[in-house]
């Protein structure tokens, strides 16, 4: 017998990680206007510094803060040193440069922390049954942390002056500029938020799996998929699409087996884009 509620739950847990990564990508895209391939490695950096903090202090909260700061600082630095100098050129120039940034981050991490796998020292707990669905307390904690992070990001976007300015720039850069919005401050805010989300996502992923130099890089493909599926530039869309991808993958497995679940995810992407070329939450409902 196929336990669909369990598969959906498994899919939602996996989808949360895709959603976080996709959110970081889509935020950067909405304002800097290029797909940032360094997002995956910013995640990895967050996972490593979080791990180092946790093993030094024993505090996961502190580790989370350090991971967020790591992601924010690296993203801001990458913008200052690389992306800003390429602004106004073709999108592909920034994309290729971001792949270069990704390699640099990974190389530094590899030299600093070594190439073999590391793990967060968190005591394992048995799963509990909730209405016939087996979930571990860790799943719920991760889900809680992700929900909190999302609430914070959307709060900033919709409830603060800088958020309003960010949405204005995302919507129409020139109009925002003539209305007195300073792009400089908006860019700084953007990279801090996008990097912070990536850093936290990396740490969560590191807790759930193992920390190794390719941790974030291998997350990049599903994350880009979710960002496109959600309507690129739409934060809510990225999160919804990440969760959807996770669930679609898992509930397809009884029918197509475990090797083809990625194929099913991409078939879903294809289907949605044929039906709605701008993605689920396309441009008109984007950040504004």
């Amino acid at each position: 017998m196929i336990n669909f509620p369990q598969l959906i739950a498994n899919g939602l847990v996996q989808g949360l990680f895709i959603a976080m990564a996709a959110l970081a990508i889509t935020l950067a895209f909405s304002i800097a206007r290029f797909p940032n391939a360094a997002t995956g490695d910013v995640m990895t950096a967050g996972a490593y510094t979080g791990l180092a903090t946790q093993s030094a202090t024993g505090s996961l909260i502190l580790a989370g803060i350090v991971a967020i700061l790591t992601g924010a600082v690296i993203s801001l630095a990458a913008d200052r040193l690389v992306f800003r100098k390429l602004a106004g050129r073709a999108v592909v120039a920034s994309l290729v440069a971001s792949i270069g940034v990704a390699f640099v981050i990974r190389a530094v991490l590899g030299v600093t922390f070594g190439l073999s796998q590391l793990v967060y020292d968190i005591p394992l707990t048995r799963a509990k049954l909730y209405w016939g669905v087996r979930l571990t307390p860790l799943d719920l904690q991760v889900a809680g942390a992700v929900a909190l992070a999302l609430a914070l990001v959307f709060g900033i976007l919709h409830l603060t002056p800088i958020g309003r300015q960010m949405r204005a720039v995302a919507d129409d850069r020139d109009l925002a500029r003539v209305s007195g919005v300073k792009p400089e401050r908006v860019m700084v805010a953007l990279w801090l938020i996008s990097g912070g989300v990536a850093g936290l996502a990396g740490m969560m992923l590191g807790i759930k799996t193992v920390v190794e130099p390719e941790l974030g890089w291998s997350m990049l493909l599903p994350a880009f998929t979710a960002a496109i599926l959600g309507g690129i530039g739409s934060p809510g869309g990225a999160v919804a699409a990440g969760l959807l991808l996770g669930v679609v993958q898992e509930i397809s497995t009884p029918f197509v087996g475990f090797n083809y679940k990625l194929v099913i995810a991409f078939a879903a992407l294809l289907g949605v884009l044929l039906w709605r070329p701008s993605g689920l939450f396309g441009k008109r409902e984007g950040v504004r």
Partner: protein, 408 residues
């Protein structure tokens, strides 16, 4: 239109001098020397073993040279790093073959690297001696010319060893979980074939994708079939996640893992209570043999660690000795002559020999020899594969204790 400045002239002159000072590139094939390419996983996921494998090759080459060389030539070792990655391995192999003009490539470790390198060695008509497990390396196209020799057990043989362990431990309802690559599926399929050959049934099996955040759905499918043991073809990283999620599910079952996954690193990653009672199976060296003692002493000297800490270094040691004996027996250094003499010196019938010097002396006396290796008795079948014995270890209180040896 163009005027050559003084600076350009100087640069040109410097480049010319640099070219002239590299005569070794142009005269790579000097007389009286046989060049071995040591192609080992110095970095990457095989880095635990790579340096030791290289040191064993160098030490064995020294032994051969000290005994007066093989077939009138001395061995010279040129080394490169595969980074345990097929693209890097291919580049390194190209460099060894085209620049250094090596006459044999020794010591590729992971199946992915060996499968990527073997077309190059085949094209160059050079031997490839590897320690990989993938069944595809036995047959064409990979081994179309019979130039690939494997010093490690195939994944298929690992599977057969797993089946023997299941019989011995009285398991009745095994299930399989395999990482989706040649090695992982090879382990699981080898097990299934051997187990069903004994008239039994495998209750469930999954092949899973690499780099997933969770394997819970995969695990659930296996556990739903209510197995008493799960046999895997897996690696360290995915096994870490599998072990954690299985422990969290709270469903009791036993595990049989290949040695490269069921390692001290796994215990470190998930904690001793989680992996208590897990069975880890790995090929074991030919520990009782005189050849193993020679290898052990050389490894101790080169690495400061016992030879038992690196089963793959025993294999690369044997590669050099076997190669030297084959050259000595052939009296020639062309690849075809060496290839046709490897089984002559390593397989029965013949006098058992354990060292290069003894083998060389016996050959000189006109005897047929059978080299007994440090890594296994080293008898190559028609596919160039050997059949080592397998050590069966149990993880108890965080330690990996070998309990018995299985012969297949």
């Amino acid at each position: 239109m163009t005027t050559t400045s003084r600076r350009q002239l100087l640069q040109g002159a410097a480049a010319g001098t640099a070219l002239l000072s590299m005569p070794s590139l142009t005269f790579a094939q000097s007389a009286g020397v046989f060049r071995i390419g040591a192609l080992n996983p110095i970095t990457g996921s095989g880095s635990t073993f790579g340096t030791g494998m290289l040191k064993a090759i160098q030490a064995a080459a020294d032994v051969v040279n000290a005994a007066g060389g093989a077939g009138g030539v001395k061995f010279e070792v040129v080394s490169e790093d595969t980074q345990t990655s097929p693209p890097a391995g291919v580049l390194a192999a190209k460099k060894l073959l085209e620049v250094n003009k090596v006459q044999a490539v020794l010591g590729t470790w992971s199946s992915g690297v060996s499968l990527a390198v073997v077309p190059l060695t085949n094209d160059a008509n050079v031997l490839l001696m590897n320690t990989s497990g993938a069944p595809a390396l036995s047959v064409p196209p990979a081994n179309a010319k019979g130039l690939s020799f494997r010093f490690q057990a195939t994944n298929d043989r690992f599977g057969r060893a797993f089946a023997e362990v299941c019989v011995k431990e009285g398991f009745k309802r095994p299930a399989t979980m395999a990482f989706n690559n040649a090695s992982g599926i090879g382990n699981a399929d080898g097990f299934k074939k051997a187990w069903e050959g004994k008239g039994n049934k495998v209750v469930a099996g999954v092949v899973y994708e690499p780099n997933q955040t969770s394997y819970r759905s995969e695990l659930q499918k296996i556990l739903d079939a209510n197995p008493d043991v799960i046999v895997t073809g897996s690696y360290l990283q995915d096994t870490t996640i599998l072990m954690r999620e299985w422990y969290q599910s709270g469903i009791p079952v036993k595990w049989i893992l290949p040695g490269w996954a069921g390692s001290p690193d796994l215990v470190k990653a998930v904690g001793a209570p989680v992996v208590e009672g897990v069975i880890s199976v790995d090929s074991v060296s030919n520990v009782g043999a005189e050849s193993y003692k020679l290898y052990d002493a050389a490894y101790q000297k080169a690495m400061g660690k016992p030879g038992s800490s690196n089963v793959y270094a025993a294999m690369t040691w044997d590669m050099v000795i076997t190669l030297a004996l084959a050259i000595e027996a052939a009296g020639k250094t062309d690849t075809d002559s060496i290839k046709s003499h490897i089984r002559t010196v390593a397989n029965p019938p013949g006098d058992d020999v354990f060292s290069y010097a003894a083998g060389k002396a016996a050959l000189k006396a006109g005897k047929k020899i059978n080299y007994q290796g440090a890594s296994s008795v080293l008898d190559f079948d028609e596919y160039g594969d050997v059949t080592p014995d397998f050590g069966v270890s149990f993880i108890e209180g965080g330690a990996i204790n070998q309990k018995y040896v299985v012969k297949i």
